[in-house]
């Protein structure tokens, strides 16, 4: 089985994230890393391989992003992915989800030209844009079944069954390979790279492709080709800390209820 896991390089959520003057996300000034939600996709790909012992399963980590984004692929390789593909091109900067999904789809095509791709895996959302649309867009572009927001993944042969905890119901969804599968952070903690994994990753194949390698024109991507435009960004005024009381023999509850009453919540 040939698995492609889409991994995104994102600004660290615990750092001070900012916008550039052109209203794009500052991806250079802030430290970045492999989107934590994509670690779950890498983890599930690795677990799939472990569960289906004896099968020949190859895992490729695919990332579209600036030079530094190669760190995201490295992390996936350290965790246990076999190969990396990094699509990097100046023209890509500022791409929206529509353009990003095009680049991912075309890269998947090129990977598939060598060896048929059975499974495209993604995280449930990127931790920066958090749109959760790329998996659906990929399924649409690749004309593949889409099985998304899986919290439990089970498979037998070509058939995949996942559990999906929706807003109003819990569903069991079934799909058949080839398909697009996105997994949530409920699938279970992602492993840390081991020392052995970190050493092994250095020798794993990592290819760097430009847009021309995958047959995408520069004017199909980037900020100018974006189908959406940000008009303004504004920092939310920081919240100011209110009163903090320390509970002593029930004083905390009284003060709390007085506060709620003063705000007319009671």
């Amino acid at each position: 089985m040939n698995i492609v896991v889409c991994v995104k390089y994102v600004p660290d959520a615990t750092a001070d994230r900012q916008f550039e003057s052109d209203n794009t996300v500052d991806r250079v000034g802030v430290d970045g890393l492999l989107s934590e939600l994509d670690e779950y996709a890498v983890e599930q790909a690795l677990q799939l391989r472990e569960k289906r012992e004896g099968e020949d399963i190859e895992i490729t980590a695919l990332c579209v992003g600036p030079e530094k984004a190669v760190d995201a692929i490295r992390k996936a390789l350290q965790m246990g992915a076999d190969k990396g593909v990094h699509v990097v091109d100046d023209a890509i900067a500022g791409s929206d989800s529509v353009a990003t999904s095009l680049v991912l789809a075309k890269a998947r095509e090129k990977i598939g030209a060598e060896k048929k791709v059975d499974l495209v895996m993604t995280g449930m959302a990127s931790t920066d844009a958090s749109m959760s649309v790329i998996p659906a867009m990929l399924a649409e572009r690749l004309e593949l079944p889409q099985v998304t927001f899986a919290s439990v993944v089970e498979s037998q042969g070509e058939v995949f069954r996942v559990r999906r905890d929706g807003d109003t119901a819990t569903e069991i969804v079934e799909g058949r390979l080839p398909m697009v599968l996105s997994v949530t952070d409920q699938t279970g903690e992602a492993r840390y790279p081991s020392f052995k994994g970190i050493m092994a990753a250095k020798k794993k194949p990592l290819e760097t492709w430009a847009l021309s390698d995958i047959g995408v024109e520069a004017d199909q991507v980037g900020l100018s080709a974006s189908w959406t435009a940000v008009e303004g960004t504004e920092a939310r005024p920081p919240r100011t800390q209110g009163e903090i009381v320390t509970d002593e023999d029930g004083s905390g509850a009284t003060a709390l209820v007085d506060f709620l009453a003063s705000k007319k919540f009671i």
């Binding site: 989800s97 931790t127 079944p145 079934e174 320390t246």
Partner: protein, 317 residues
């Protein structure tokens, strides 16, 4: 006036509140037309009362088990048929996926998770809250028919009374759209409490509850509030995932948010920091959540909440 398509979110025919909010927003842009996939007999009146001039009914016998792809196809056919000026979709996981597929199908830009929509001469301008709620961003779709998914509580439903003329629409669904299928569905049990994303007050518990949610639920019931949880509480199996507040759970923006035994990690804040008033109860005075609160109690939630519940109930008399 141009038509604005609003995809109806319903549970077995009962229209959910976010759809009514979308009708309010749609009226700012043009004439709302509801798109009802399923049996509309129960919901049509509600939609008309809240501003739907037209209701396109797509019988879903064939579509129902097949997830989002056929719904995107149905919307595509309706956009082409009506020449709609925009498509508004509730911002659920499913809604965002429908939006993503539709965008590729009709060659249009998409904006997700809008918290408000205004009109610039009929062109929708969407407001989003990003980076864990630290920034507000406004934006437009610049190509094709704007597709915007909108979060719950972005507008107040308004009773305006509209024609609500029903029109049956048949759509053709490609085989490719039928390849992923729901084989089992278990509706979530009703808790008798308000919906988390719709509630005016939310009381959440975290790891600090130690697994005992009774004090949290008791306080919530005294205030008529919904119950929420941190991921630590969900991961421990104390609460179902549907109750999780935060980056990978629900975003809530109630009048009052009470966090008990929750430290305030960035991923939790992402789901609650736009709440109007925030209250925290935590035994650690250094808990980061205290930085955001309007009122905080340093203390043991197992003591503070039951006492506060009693006091609230006494006041209500």
């Amino acid at each position: 006036m141009s038509e604005i398509l609003v995809l109806v979110d319903h549970v077995d025919g009962a229209v959910r509140k976010p759809t009514l909010e979308l009708l309010t927003l749609a009226r700012r842009l043009g004439e709302p037309s509801a798109v009802f996939i399923g049996d509309a007999s129960q919901g049509a009146d509600t939609l008309a009362k809240h501003g739907a001039e037209k209701i396109y009914v797509v019988d879903d016998a064939e579509i129902k088990p097949y997830l989002v792809a056929p719904k995107a196809e149905a919307l595509q056919q309706l956009v082409e048929k009506t020449g709609a000026a925009a498509v508004l979709i509730p911002s659920s996981a499913e809604g965002k996926e429908i939006a993503g597929r539709l965008a590729i199908k009709i060659g249009s830009g998409v904006i997700t998770d809008a918290v408000d929509i205004t009109s610039d001469g009929g062109t929708p301008v969407a407001t989003q809250s990003v980076f864990a709620g630290n920034f507000t961003v406004t934006g437009k779709v610049t190509k094709g028919t704007p597709i915007i998914t909108v979060k719950p509580n972005s507008a107040a439903p308004e009773e305006v009374g509209a024609a609500g003329t029903q029109e049956q629409v048949s759509v053709t669904i490609s085989d490719a759209a039928k390849t992923a299928k729901v084989i089992k569905s278990e509706p979530r049990k009703a808790t008798g409490r308000p919906e988390l994303t719709e509630a005016a007050i939310v009381v959440s518990g975290g790891r600090g509850t130690g697994g005992d949610f009774a004090p949290v639920e008791g306080f919530a019931d005294a205030l008529g509030a919904a119950v929420g949880a941190s991921r630590a509480a969900v991961d421990s199996g104390w609460m179902p995932h549907a109750f999780q507040v935060g980056q990978t759970g629900k975003t809530v923006s109630p009048q009052l948010y009470v966090a008990a035994g929750i430290s305030g990690a960035i991923q939790h804040r992402a789901g609650m920091q736009t709440s109007k008033t925030i209250v925290a109860i935590n035994k650690d005075e250094e808990a980061p959540l205290f930085e955001l609160v309007d009122f905080g109690v340093v203390g043991d939630l197992h003591k503070v909440l039951p006492a506060a519940t009693e006091a609230v109930n006494a006041r209500k008399g």
